[in-house]
């Protein structure tokens, strides 16, 4: 074993010997600028002087409260339905599992507006489920706060499922076998062993899903419309403010940007880099 005994060259020599090609460095730099410049532009154009006053405007606060509430409810819905679905996909071999896994991720690539139209067709007053809901319970979903939650959950769920399924697949199933040898049934094993083991993955998925729900626009405006206080979430408010009051749109965008950055930072520190 000659190679094993020879010492590896120090790392510094590698960086000297290997130059970064300009053909890669230049587009990389342009790409970075392209991603960061709009954010900088937003900060530059922010009306800092009137910001405190703008932040306390009742319309903004209403939209912010509605956004946080609906995004949180949508995340809870995603957790309640998405974690069991992720478990099924990760742990139970059934025919057509690969197809189901592919279908679950469709909302990821589907244009949100199309998602909104699809939701309208199913849950609308004349829709497949909607007409039944209307006749049986007298419940109509479109253009309600519930519709906002459904639209957000529809687009956010794949994020959660992918994160949780990945965590479940990465988790050592032998811990579950160990739990079984100690007398734990499958449900107890899931709640007492599996879930704690994949908790970081569930938390990361929930945060990602929450952020996606908070930013949801296309499906929301299609399925839930734009009623202040009821269905007008932050992104919808931004879009409408653009036509009347540019500064208001900037302030709303700044808030959403801040929330995104905070989430990214918390994800990095707490979960992404954790063992």
């Amino acid at each position: 074993m000659l190679g094993a005994t020879r010492e590896a060259p120090p790392a510094r020599r590698i960086s000297h010997a290997r130059r970064i090609p300009v053909a890669l460095l230049l587009p990389a730099a342009i790409g970075l600028l392209f991603l960061l410049l709009p954010l900088v532009g937003l900060l530059v154009r922010t009306p800092w002087a009137t910001l405190p006053q703008r932040l306390t405007e009742p319309g903004l606060l209403t939209a912010l409260r509605l956004s946080v509430q609906t995004a949180t409810l949508a995340t809870l819905l995603c957790l309640a339905l998405g974690v069991p679905l992720a478990w099924l996909l990760a742990r139970v071999p059934f025919p057509g599992r690969r197809l189901v896994r592919a279908l679950v991720t469709v909302p990821l690539v589907l244009p949100p507006v199309v998602g909104g139209v699809a939701l309208l067709l199913v849950f609308g007053r004349r829709g497949l489920v909607g007409s039944w809901l209307d006749e049986t319970f007298g419940v109509t979903l479109p253009f309600t706060t519930t519709a906002v939650v459904l639209a957000q959950a529809f687009v956010a769920m794949p994020f959660l499922i992918i994160a949780v399924e990945g965590a479940l697949r990465g988790a050592d199933t032998r811990y579950e076998e160990a739990a079984a040898t100690l007398g734990a049934g499958r449900w107890t094993t899931f709640t007492h062993v599996t879930l704690p083991l994949v908790a970081p993955g569930v938390a990361a998925g929930a945060v990602l899903g929450w952020a996606r729900a908070l930013g949801e626009f296309g499906a929301t405006i299609t399925f839930a419309g734009n009623y202040p206080g009821r269905t007008q979430t932050m992104p919808v408010a931004v879009y409408l403010a653009l036509e009347t009051d540019l500064e208001a749109a900037i302030v709303l965008s700044l808030i959403l940007l801040t929330v995104s950055v905070v989430i990214l930072a918390s994800l990095r520190d707490r979960w992404v880099s954790a063992p």
């Binding site: 032998r174 160990a178 079984a180 040898t181 100690l182 007398g183 049934g185 083991l197």
Partner: protein, 373 residues
């Protein structure tokens, strides 16, 4: 999952009745591999299942634990039918009276040592407080009282091993299964832990099966050894019998003996390649001949006189073996010989060198190959 029908066997009241606490014939097919292992273990008995990698040791353990179903055969523990494909009986893992110590322990990383041990009792119907009380008692017996609040990653290898043992024993298992319980430990810790493990196994009233590939673990910890190769039992017995009379090359290597098979006529045994060995034991028919490497003497020229077996040989390898050197020799008989470094220096032993090997008939042991396993 099939719910067991109340069969007569299930209703037998005394767990200690019958031939053994564990009475099993484990047959498991996995592709082209088949495990076919009859196994009985008496209450309080420790049986070591020994074999090379891929022999089916882990498959047997998983079948006993209910982590792998039997293809055929049966598994009865404490008078209860746990797995019987013929009768359609299958008791899932969580309802079997077992405890398992896994090779890398598999302590739940999110629970403290105390809660790891309390996990089993809690699932067996104890209240949280009772389960913790019981767990604390077990940790005290393991000498781990002050480590009860620690998470598994804060424990040393030896401590984690004892927590795993406490966790498995805390449910009072009728059958304790240990999968290479000392393999993950360094040599020094292994020595201490092995001694402690022996005490706890001796105190365990149920049956114990120890799966290992380390003959020392098996010899120190077990009352009886079952050796399997290619899914089948090749030899079974107490340590003394197995170390004295190995019946396969694997077992011979395990216990450090030279082993040959041949046809005996009185004191003479003709080996398969035609070479004749003289033994002090007298037999007729198929026999094994075994002798220790230390019984082989090496000479620069053919020795004469005395009732010795001698043959010319060539050195193929030299290794350290304890305080001695182990010399591998080829020739009419492949043999390992142990010589002192002084003798090796005097003889100027080196690979490729021709020597004469000699074994006294009184140092050999011949025993019939036909009967038994």
């Amino acid at each position: 999952m099939t719910t067991p029908r109340p069969t007569p066997a299930t209703d037998q009241p005394s767990p200690l009745a019958g031939p053994g606490l564990l009475d099993a014939h484990l047959v498991v097919d996995r592709g082209s591999f088949r495990l076919d292992l009859p196994l009985t273990i008496a209450p309080g008995e420790v049986v070591a299942l020994l074999g090379p990698n891929g022999a089916g040791k882990t498959t047997a353990l998983r079948a006993l634990a209910g982590l792998h179903p039997l293809t055929a055969g049966h598994l009865t523990l404490a008078g209860r039918n746990l797995d019987h494909p013929g009768l359609g009986i299958w008791i899932p893992t969580e309802r079997r009276p077992i405890g398992v110590v896994f090779q890398d322990y598999l302590l739940f990383p999110h629970l403290s040592a105390l809660d790891n041990v309390a996990f089993g009792p809690r699932r067996h119907g104890l209240s949280r407080q009772q389960a913790r009380h019981r767990a604390a008692g077990w940790l005290t017996r393991m000498g781990l009282t002050e480590h009860a609040r620690r998470k598994p990653r804060q424990l040393s290898g030896g401590q984690a091993q004892r927590v795993a043992l406490a966790r498995a024993l805390a449910v009072d298992p009728a059958l304790l299964l240990l999968d290479e319980p000392l393999a993950a430990l360094d040599a020094r810790t292994r020595l201490d832990t092995r001694a402690q493990l022996q005490q706890h196994l001796a105190a365990h009233p149920g049956a114990t099966l120890l799966v290992t590939h380390d003959p020392l673990d098996a010899l120190v910890l077990a009352d009886r050894l079952v050796i399997i190769e290619h899914g089948r039992v090749v030899q079974e017995g107490d340590a003394a019998t197995i170390t004295a009379e190995p019946r396969t090359d694997y077992v011979a290597r395990l216990v450090g003996l030279n082993l040959y098979r041949g046809h005996a006529t009185g004191h003479h045994v003709r080996l398969a390649d035609g070479h004749l060995l003289t033994t002090s034991d007298q037999h007729d028919g198929e026999v094994f001949v075994a002798f220790a490497p230390a019984a082989v003497a090496l000479h620069p020229r053919q020795p004469d006189g005395s009732p010795r077996n001698t043959w010319p040989a060539t050195i193929t390898g030299i290794q350290r073996h304890g305080d001695n050197l182990r010399i591998q020799l080829t020739g009419p008989i492949e043999v390992a010989a142990d010589v002192t470094p002084a003798a090796a220096a005097q003889l100027r032993l080196a690979p490729g060198q021709p020597v004469w090997a000699a074994v006294k008939a009184t140092e050999t042991r011949a025993y019939p190959a036909g009967q038994g396993r």
